[in-house]
Amino acid sequence: MNAIIISAVWGIVMMFSGLLTSNKSTVRYVAIGGIILLFIANLMDLGMGHPFFSIDTRRMLYFDTFPLVFNAIAYGCTLLYFLLSGRDIEQVGVNVAEYFALIFFVLCGVAIASSFNTLLMLFLGIEIISIPLYILTGSNKKNLKSTEASLKYFLMGSFSTGIMLLGITFLYGASSKGTFFIDEISLLGGPASPLFMAGLLLLLISMAFKVSAAPFHFWTPDVYDGAPTVFTSFMATIVKAAVFIAFIRLFFDSFGEIQARWQIFISIIIAATLFIGNLTAVFQQSVKRMLAYSSIAQAGFMLFAILTLNQIGRDGLLLYTAAYSVATIGIFAILVRMKDHSFEGFNGLAKHHPVLAATNTVFLLSLAGIPLTGGFFAKFYMLAAVVKTGQSLWLVIFAVLCAAVSIYYYFRVIQAMYFKDGEPQQIDSPVAFRVLLVIAALIILILGMFPQWLINTLEIPYI
């Protein structure tokens, strides 16, 4: 509850700070202060203190350790994102305070989407996430690509919202009591009526749209490519992770009992996502576009948690979101400061900027899932969850093969950085930036060596 209220209020504070001061750094410091406050307030909600606000939401929102730990991860990643890329947000346009304000509104949506207990709150959470993102995508108003990405994202986003709403309505009609509470839907569905199944499938399709799983992924590369790179970083990490948390909570609570009926659809989606994401990423010339396809491929892995719905999968999903978000934010923070976004742009980076190259290598290794990095255990947990159920083992083998393919395009960047010669290029990298990159790389390594530190926080009983 703390997080939802404070993030919404802080968004308004940000808008006023833009009115009261024209100094861009001041605005940035206000934003960083806000996110730190949000992070601490969320920890206090988690049982390490007492919550500021306790409002009776009539069971519409449900606070538990799982969503609150996820919120802590999301806010921690946003803090890292602000520290690393805050200056680059200032470069996008003149309305700096508004960009930060919109990001805080997205964070409000993230908190709602992770702790919803009715389909109404799910819908509102997803929409509060999406609408500010349409604006952020098009924030580079003079650039035609940004405008185009924004329009495309907007049309696709509202189209999938329409599908989601029809699904919700069908579920409402099929429930015999007329309820939107996710824990009551499944019990009242009875021997799944056609209306109920249609609603479930429509919800599945729309959530697959939002997490950009194949075959509903076609908007992702264009939007991620066209949006200003700083905002792509935010969209591809924190937002995507939040939608995944909403996805797993919805399917865990509502449709967990009739898992056998929809498992086959998820299996097909996973196979298609892994295949298309990894194979298309191989042929990309631009690193930014490659990262867009890699985010599709990573989504394929995260979907395993929804396929299995067991404890390992749920724990692993949190680890996955943390490892994936930190690594991707780090890569984008470096990419956004480079002029050339193609693979050739990375040529010889190791000679001129050794720290940047070394940390970038750690991030890429983590995305590829090499041991000792967070990405390895994230992928390991996902596959272990499937193996534990004992079903769809073909999918595990397929996923491992796809992960092997992914090594190719991640290592292309590493190879360009270390084994190719290139022109020395001007990259603005002050000491603070490099220190932060090293810290991010250390987080990845710590997650890779002691994943239980994060997983164990889930054991904290929620008061």
Binding site: L120, L124, E127, K141, K142, F154, T169
Partner: protein, 109 residues
Amino acid sequence: MPINYYIFLAVTLFCIGVTGVLTRRNAIIIFMCIELMLNAVNLLLVAFSKMHYQEMVKLNPTAGIDGQLFVFFIMVVAAAEVSVGLAIIVMMYRNTHSVDVNFLNRLKH
């Protein structure tokens, strides 16, 4: 009237909306079709709400009220989407002097 009629009507409206989104090329018409989809959902929600009310009114005098509440939220969100969406379309018109989505192929490589 049986609920099935409402379901058919709403689903038909929804499908018209989906067809429009997939086939039309004018951004504003696509946008109108999305609104049509949302309104089809609103209609269906109200119909279901009434159905639940008739079934449950003896046990619970406020049965089915959730569905009607949901409609208000959809309206609010749709209004927010309209304001953002029209702004984006205007922005596109300033850049390309057209609202035809066929112009939108610069991102394809």
